[in-house]
Subunit: 366 residues, 4 copies
């Protein structure tokens, strides 16, 4: 089931960029959760194209329709099907892509794998697929907020070579701070520079990438299922399943390898009110694959958008060398719209792990 994620709280996404629509089925949602379309729409609007002048101008209302699983405003425990119709399609803009593979896109690999492909707007490989993830993620996030008091925040820490001051990495910005700018970087000065940079590269038909930080607070100790379904392993998979991602690191990450053990270890201390805390958090909130109750902290790398408006060397379906200059609407930088994707994937992983943990450790008492 390559289009499903999660063992107990499971989502299955479907849909292509230029088909009738995109959607998701959420199976395993706990019953009794108050849920209405606006709960979901809020996050969809943060992902929506056309939301600012630094993202793709494709016009999509992305209005969610709830098709099942809700009765009188509450989840019933049965599958929740959600659908968004595609509206602003311009398949003609993609005619050249029918026969030419766009460099660093999925055109060639889909053709090689399946023997045929829906070339319009990238078909299934389009980031439009993530509509379903965000819709499902909104449900997961509501569960975590209501039942667990968990807060999830993602934000942009670097665009191209413009990075926030390192002190910002130690903060847990508010949603308002993140949403204050179109680039979703909570440091206003850096955000302004980032927006300028994105407009510059767009003007030259080029693109840039960047880094998003993910933070979670309120997760109890105990989530994560070693040895293979370690919490960071499932977070890594979830993030690397997003289009355009190239890397994941937890806590100290790659930089942590520059420290000695004596510098890197997180000393334990009693937590006021009982329990245990760590004095530092190089572990990123996960030890031995299991949450330790500290803030979960990770970063995700997004490559520069593959679609650029400059001519590129490529090959056609018959295997002949040719040249391609992309048309069609696209984001000069996917990172600002990916912030809500990182949050959605995080929420989905956490709800699933919370249920798995409870199943093994809370069902039976001896």
């Amino acid at each position: 089931m390559p289009n499903s994620l999660g063992k107990l709280f499971t989502i299955t996404t479907w849909g292509e960029s230029h088909g009738p629509g995109v959607g998701v089925v959420v199976d395993g949602c706990p019953p009794g959760l108050p849920l209405t379309a606006p709960d979901i729409q809020t996050d969809l609007d943060r992902r929506r194209p056309g939301q600012s002048d630094i993202v793709t101008p494709r016009q999509e209302a992305d209005a969610v329709e709830i098709l099942s699983g809700i009765f009188e405003g509450r989840t019933t425990g049965t599958p929740i099907a959600l659908m968004v119709r595609n509206a602003d399609q311009r398949p003609g803009a993609y005619d050249e892509m029918r026969n030419k593979f766009r460099p660093s896109h999925a055109d060639y690999t889909y053709q090689a794998k399946f023997g045929l492909r829906d070339h319009r707007g990238g078909g299934r490989s389009s980031a439009r697929e993530t509509v379903g993830r965000v819709a499902a993620g909104a449900i997961a996030r509501k569960i975590l907020a209501l039942a667990g008091g968990v807060e999830i925040r993602a934000f942009v820490t670097r665009i191209h070579d413009l990075a926030v001051p390192s002190a910002v990495l130690e903060t847990f910005p508010t949603l308002a701070e993140v949403e204050a700018t179109a680039v979703r970087c909570p440091h206003p000065a850096t955000a302004a520079a980032m927006i300028d940079r994105i407009k510059q590269v767009r003007a030259t038909g080029d693109s840039v990438g960047g880094v998003i930080a993910g933070r979670v607070r309120g997760v109890p100790a105990g989530l994560g299922e070693p040895v293979f379904d370690r919490l960071e392993a499932d977070l890594a998979k979830a993030m690397l399943s997003l289009p355009a991602t190239k890397g994941f690191e937890l806590g100290s990450g790659f930089a942590g390898t520059l420290l000695k053990g004596s510098e890197h270890n997180d000393a334990f201390a009693p937590r006021a009110g009982g329990g245990v805390r760590t004095l530092t958090n190089r572990s990123g909130g996960v030890q031995g694959g299991i949450s330790n109750g500290e803030e979960i902290a990770f970063s995700v790398a997004f490559k520069p958008t593959a679609t650029i408006l400059q001519p590129q060397q490529t090959v056609d379906l018959e295997g002949h060398a040719t040249e391609l200059a992309a048309r069609g609407r696209h984001d000069p930088c996917v990172v600002p719209r990916a912030v809500v994707l990182v949050e959605a994937m995080t929420a989905l992983v956490l709800v699933d792990h919370w249920m798995r943990h409870a199943a093994q450790n809370r069902t039976f008492k001896f």
Copy 2:
């Protein structure tokens, strides 16, 4: 099934550091593969403690016993059970750990999750669990080599702040070059410095980490199952499921976010003899979650070993602040022994994806 990995070629590992033994069951192995214990032992010996003077002195022959699934030297398609008995156990060396949580180890989180734990040598969270992964990985690697001509190579590219020259990252070293030094870095001068560094930190009761590169050649285009089981997503999960890992990056990785799209894209060109190749490989051999036929290239970050011989601040089972100075045998740097783990996990992911791809795309013809 948190202790299983893979959908069609599935491994299930079991065992603790100081229990009777460790092992693995491989389910779904193709029938007819010639397989004997030495095929597996070769890789186990590369993981074995006591193999050099920079790793833990624990003495374990790690001799594998094949318990099922082989008949007259060939796999039968039924589960292959493999077991290694634990030999050199010194549970007494871990008495202090019964009541004290070792910083940046899994002691506290296992206790928090399960309410009890086998504290001896870290129990299930010990790297000794990876014996089963390496044994299963040896089978996967043999399948890939025999049936697909696939070569997998991992090697150390950095220990602490000692990195190989960047030109080395462009090479595909031979197994002999990797195995030439105890640290498994194919650049002899850097390897010598790394070995010195490891001995230095051991002498001070400290530890270091580093980075391992993974490389695969011979993988055909088409492996990877979007949207969630993208090849890089499953590689990321597999790597982050290894103890002590903190990060994963594919191809250009985090550094790739410093490039513009026009610099980052991999142009396509006709491949001599038919097909398509890329002129550069910033994609790391995967595009849109599917292999493109180029070399697969990634890196994994390993933190400094959490076990150090210096006194550390911690908490005991009753929640009181205390101090702990580790005893017991350990690696001052896990990276050299982790090379074969990275190779094993890579092989396991690739065989599983190869079978999944064939199932969907090769079973039926229309």
Copy 3:
């Protein structure tokens, strides 16, 4: 994922009797299959309410909409989402069921499990959910027919105590013979009696059940995945997952236990043109959990419809004894409409097993 079935060819159904609609997502469908809405509609029409005077008069066109996964008339290997809008809803007819549990329905158990339920028409437990199964089954059946020459036939062998002559059980009726009567029994005289019986019980506000036989020919030897995913085990599960089923038997079934081994065993003989056949088929086409190339033969028991128009003793939401007389439209006998369900489930199991078999046994050559 309780609403998903299949490991490689996976369906996920969603929807309630009186929600916006019902549907299914098919994940893992092989690419390149020619597929249009009429391919699916044909089977949906066989399941459709209102199709004859012995089934429920609920009026539903059940027109399928293909939402994804098809491009220019062929499957692309990506998820196929199918939806049918609900039309003829009369939620008011179910007001009494909000507070009273219908005997031998799922009302009480859904309430007990989830703490709330959509009572309208049985909500998720309605047989309306099987629309998605039939739609997905039509795809599976087309794959089997086109790529494997496999024929699947189900037919009614008993309604209440009216059974076909035993000779009929040895035949493989044509689709036309099955569809010739509203009751889908290929023996015309028995069919006429069955139809009379159904009309009789309907007239008294009562209901009846019966038995459906399933037959498949053209399945090669080798499908089935011991030890747990034996072919008959997965068939049994698929059939018992259908509403109103009470039993499953393969080949000789329960009656076979009345024979001695010397009477029951199926002798082997050379098959003309190579291979092996059995002289009898008490095995039902499966031996040791794996198809042997003979006709697959099984039976499924369906209980009398739980909805009857006679007053029944029950309990309300507050736990008080009360009485309930069903209203709402219903089938006096579900068996005729269940024939296509049995075929659909059979097709789904076979395609999934075919792909699993090929994955393990055809991917790699040694």
Copy 4:
């Protein structure tokens, strides 16, 4: 993972009849369960060959070794690996089977599926594989007994044409009553006749089958995961995954189809002390795929043992007609030893469903 069963409480069995041993890995076991080898051995002894004069004389102590997952007498939540060494092997007794397919055995289908097979004693298709199921089932049963007060009982209700009086089917016999006779039928007079019948057929080199009833009491309402993982669907699959099974029925089963709805429905009544009960139990304790709190009741058909000592017509590996007369030790009737298998499979399904139910319905509160 064809050799694994269960989504949260997962068992993976391995081993062949004449390999080094057989075993199982249990993943997902709740932590804190007191568990020692004798807890498991008790059930293994009920499955053991050589236990009476109506079963196979193969001598196996079947002494279980616990290899992992237990610390100081309690489960730790990590995988529990259990192993039994094979002892009384006589591979030479099976030489003829290397080249000839035994009728109604799995010899031909394994050969057809995998292209090779371990012919000794049936290899993987031997009922010896069920050692692992029984060992794992003993753990599941202990969980249910300790934490839920659940009792599981299976017993023989028919051997060949010798059936217990129908009143016996309404009882819940004690374990002592079941174990009182070698045939495990709790009705002494019938049991005596059954034992005679088994000895008779053995004397003529023939074999018989029969029917086993399964009963469970103490299961709360709410277990079962519609629409596909209905409780009876998973029970049916578990039972049909046992060697030699040909049918499964729940509650009224096939006979229930002879009743009208007004006769078949189980009226609801208030339960003393709160809740709801049914006045009859034709549903077999499951409604809409979910347990309703009543006794779970089902039956399983076992065919006559395929191994008989009379000459039979068959085919050899080269496809030539030939004759085969079995040698080797075998059971003239597998049913008495299968009683504990039915109990084990029932326990495994129930624990898994209990955990799944709790995960969705008890983890989060709104």
